[in-house]
């Protein structure tokens, strides 16, 4: 489970993000128009691709892509 793969997955699943936009230190809440749909996409990605369960609370307790990634990794 590598952070670069996770970032690539996020960029692929968020239709309006160009590859290379996200960095580990990016605050993902500041993605243009971060919405509940983005949250659902991340939950689905975590579940189907990484076998990790995320909740709404996890989006409130993390800010950067790296924090979210480390949280997911800790649940692997």
């Amino acid at each position: 489970m590598e952070i670069n793969d996770f970032i690539a997955d996020l960029e692929e699943n968020f239709d309006n993000l160009d590859p290379g936009t996200l960095k580990p230190e990016s605050n993902y809440h500041e993605i243009d128009e971060w919405s509940s749909m983005h949250a659902l996409i991340v939950i689905a990605l975590a579940d189907t691709e990484y076998g990790v369960i995320l909740t709404g609370e996890d989006f409130r307790s993390t800010e950067t892509v790296e924090e979210l990634f480390l949280l997911m990794k800790s649940r692997k």
């Binding site: 509940s36 749909m37 949250a39 689905a44 909740t55």
Partner: protein, 331 residues
């Protein structure tokens, strides 16, 4: 007389994506495309759930007059009753000019309501001499949506359906699996305005969620993330249980007709359950999420297109409760 037939009614008024993005100009279209909805139908304030269920039942009975004398059970699934008492199903028996030799009652369920009703109809037909059951649904959720609840106003539409299930069809309906997670009863709820909490000074105070959706205690409120997580975590296991108790393998299922919550949930489930896209039916572009009416609308389209003949179809309803109910039909 057909042994299983369905009709549905959609209110005249529509609410298109164009109108939605006109009402919420700051919303980005891209964020909504994955939900797979283009338009929905909205009841007028004077139209009740029983009115749209009646309209659907009229369409069904007019298409096959033989049904009239064969309705010995009337079930009505709705959250919006006409009266405190009597049950709304008895008024429908009268309005539809159905015979007196019948049972008639309402039950309150949401998105799992169709599979619940199928279970009830099957059980009732197996334990009576009844030749058929008329199962009606009436979904008028848009009446309780807060105007500022963007997500719900995009997702939900109103619809009434009528399904006739004959005694001879009962053996084609499989065994059922149910799940109830009452500890999550607040995930989908209208809090105030009923027995537990009558309307009070706080009921209409606007409440905003993390994503800027506005609702109130007197309006419908859904924790979309919680419900989504619940669905992708629970439904694959329920599907396995349904297969097991019906002695089936996953590859024997020709079609998966799940509650049409939104296209993204259904696609995520297909991916997780390793179901090919052509087997997972997604059909909500013109109606949105119509609660307990969504599965019968899809089935009626499939019957019309002659796509059900000889097929084994898995049905799973899921939603408010939180609840899940599923089975298979061998059409």
């Amino acid at each position: 007389m057909k042994d299983f037939s369905i009709a549905y009614y959609l209110p005249k008024k529509t609410y298109t994506n164009e109108e939605f993005f006109g009402d919420f100009p700051d919303e980005k279209i891209d964020n909504y495309l994955k939900l797979g909805i283009e338009s929905r139908h909205i009841v007028e304030p004077y139209e009740t759930a029983s009115d749209i269920a009646f309209a659907a039942a009229k369409l069904l009975l007019d298409s096959d007059r033989d049904l009239l004398d064969n309705v010995e059970h009337i079930l009505f699934c709705t959250q919006e009753l006409d009266f405190y008492t009597p049950s709304t199903a008895v008024t429908l028996q009268h309005r539809l000019k159905l015979q007196n030799n019948c049972s008639a009652f309402d039950f309150n369920h949401g998105c799992a309501g169709f599979t619940y009703g199928l279970f009830l109809a099957k059980s009732m037909l197996l334990s009576s001499k009844g030749t058929g059951a008329l199962f009606l649904t009436g979904y008028t959720l848009t009446k309780v949506l807060h105007p500022g609840d963007k997500s719900s106003r995009f997702l939900f539409g109103d619809a009434g359906t009528a399904t006739f299930i004959s005694q001879s069809f009962v053996h084609k309906i499989g065994k059922f699996v149910f799940k109830t997670y009452g500890e999550q009863y607040e995930a989908i709820i209208v809090r105030d305005g009923f027995a537990r909490q009558p309307i009070n000074d706080e009921s209409h105070r606007p409440l905003a969620d993390h994503f800027g959706n506005i609702t109130s205690r007197a309006n419908f409120s859904m924790n979309g993330i919680k419900v989504f997580t619940f669905a992708i975590r629970t439904i694959p296991g329920v599907a396995k249980e349904i297969l097991k108790i019906n002695n089936l393998q996953l590859d024997q299922i020709d079609l998966f007709v799940f509650h049409q919550a939104n296209a993204f949930i259904l696609e995520s489930l297909a991916k997780k359950m390793k179901i090919s896209k052509d087997k997972m039916v997604i059909d909500l572009a013109k109606t949105g999420n119509t609660g307990q009416s969504s599965i019968p609308i899809v089935l009626s389209h499939l019957i019309k297109e002659d796509q059900l003949e000889g097929k084994i179809v898995m049905l799973i309803g899921f939603g408010t409760g939180l609840s899940v109910a599923g089975t298979v039909i061998k059409y």
